[in-house]
């Protein structure tokens, strides 16, 4: 394993300290337990939006703490759900009268940790579970995984809360965004979890993994390497079926890299996806391309679609000022 680290045990802390220093104008870092909050206190009338999850997906979630998005993020160890004390402490630090909304990616560990924190928390709170990965069946035994759609959820809920939406509204909006969002991913390689020192799984030079999540784990099936057009078709046809997308509908198209995919390839996927959607009369009205929800050094990408209406477009366009997503201010 080759990584820019001193030691696996200090990696996360050193990295979080660096993150905190590099963005000291936006966030602050609490190290016992680990959480990141905005510099500014939450306005009394504003719902506090908190997310978190295993590390290794950067910039998700810490990179999205700031005006117009998250109030706090709780980073776990690499690919490991954070512990309930983190969310509890973060909530206590940022909640200011309007309650807390937790945004949780649907993984057993994350869901349980946030649940325990919510049970211990003595203020109004609600939880939105993100489950956008359509590589799993809709009726999957645990529900579907939460993947790159999480960013969209965090952006839109962050904007709604900033605009003064109350907790009940935010919770309902979150569930609506989740229902309107679908993602699917493909991996060209696995990734190397620092504590393990070797790739989680092996793919031959002519193999790719279809329907992967964001933890460098095997996906639904190993298939032969195919042209990007065919990959895009497989991802998008599954997504379109799932969302029952029809000609004339408006969508946000998010092409997300898993960490080791050059932007050149992501834009190429965007191009092929936009051709595919255009042929079906589906209108891309907002776009985001880049490495946002990553799996350490995994190569590959996911495609996410969110069906937009005017309200969601306004929320997407609203100003945001975080380490890794910024516009309008």
């Amino acid at each position: 394993m080759k990584k820019l680290i001193n030691h696996v045990d200090t990696l996360l802390d050193e990295s979080l300290h660096g993150f905190a220093k590099a963005h000291a104008d936006i966030i602050q870092f609490n190290s016992q337990p680990h959480f990141v909050t905005r510099l500014q206190t939450t306005k009394p009338s504003k719902v506090a939006i908190i997310s978190g999850g295993g590390s290794g997906h950067e910039p998700l979630h810490t990179g999205f703490v700031g005006f117009g998005m998250l109030d706090a993020a709780c980073p776990g160890q690499v690919f490991t759900s954070p512990t309930p004390d983190q969310m509890l402490a973060a909530a206590q630090a940022v909640e200011n009268g309007a309650g807390v909304l937790f945004i949780v990616k649907n993984y057993a560990g994350d869901v349980m940790s946030f649940e325990i924190a919510a049970e211990m928390l003595d203020c109004a709170n609600a939880t939105v579970v993100v489950s956008d990965d359509v590589s799993l069946a809709k009726n999957h035994s645990t529900g579907r995984r939460g993947v790159a759609g999480t960013l969209i959820m965090e952006k839109m809920l962050g904007a709604a809360a900033e605009n003064g939406a109350d907790l009940t509204f935010c919770k309902a909006l979150g569930d609506r965004i989740n229902a309107a969002t679908a993602s699917m991913g493909v991996a060209l390689t696995s990734c190397t979890v620092p504590a393990l020192g070797k790739p989680t799984f092996h793919l031959d030079d002519n193999q790719i993994e279809m329907g992967v999540g964001i933890h460098g784990e095997h996906g639904r099936e190993t298939v032969s390497l195919m042209p990007a057009n065919d990959i895009v078709e497989r991802l998008l046809s599954t997504i379109i079926d799932d969302l029952q997308l029809k000609s004339g509908q408006q969508i946000l198209l998010h092409v997300n890299g898993f960490g080791a995919t050059p932007l050149m390839e992501l834009y190429l996927v965007y191009e092929l996806a936009s051709q595919y959607l255009q042929k079906r009369g589906i209108n891309i009205v907002r776009s985001l391309v880049g490495n946002y929800t990553t799996s350490l050094d995994m190569a590959g990408c996911s495609v996410t679609l969110t069906i937009l209406d005017n309200e969601l477009i306004r929320l997407w366009d609203a100003p945001v000022h975080t380490a890794s997503l910024r516009w309008g201010c």
Partner: protein, 216 residues
Amino acid sequence: MSFTPSLLPKLIETVTETIIKNAGEITALDQAIGDGDHVTNLQRGLTALMAQRSEISQLDWPAAWQKIGMTVMTSVGGASGSLYGTLFVAMSKSAAGKDLNVQSVAEAFAQAVEAVKHRGKSDVGEKTMLDVLVPVAKHLQDAAAVSLPLSALLEQTKQVAITGMESTRDMLATKGRASFLGERTRGHIDAGAMSSQLVICALVDVLLANLTAPAQ
């Protein structure tokens, strides 16, 4: 003789040893159908417990279980952290204020396993640690009900844990990360089932050794 929390340092040390000894195998299982971090998670918890082991050994059992549960909950992370944490916290809650004997401890453990089921929204047969915990809980209650001698109860516990672990091999995972892999999960033992089997057997071995050893 009866077991006191003075045994805790030895219990924690033995569990730590057995996890370290089997780290490679557990990791391979969690890499095959999970994300490979199960041992690292457990080790964080065990390191925290090792640091507190003499302190914990001063408490009574329910207080010790509570402390162990909270330590696990705030250090392990992942699915197993919440589940093992819940197990100990629930044991503590159920045992608190009771006379501790084989019956009441078996009962507390059974209730703790119920709490784990509830937390995990899962049950036996889903290829998780519950495929070890549930049969072990049932065995303890059954054995306590017929007043099986403690040494036999303990010996059989190990066998039940191992059988439970083995039962996960051909199961389809329907909970936790492994569920995402569908049919690909068959043929692999569940990592959490292996770790709970190892923990249970390690605990039992310490108790057995203490049972036959001259009373301290």
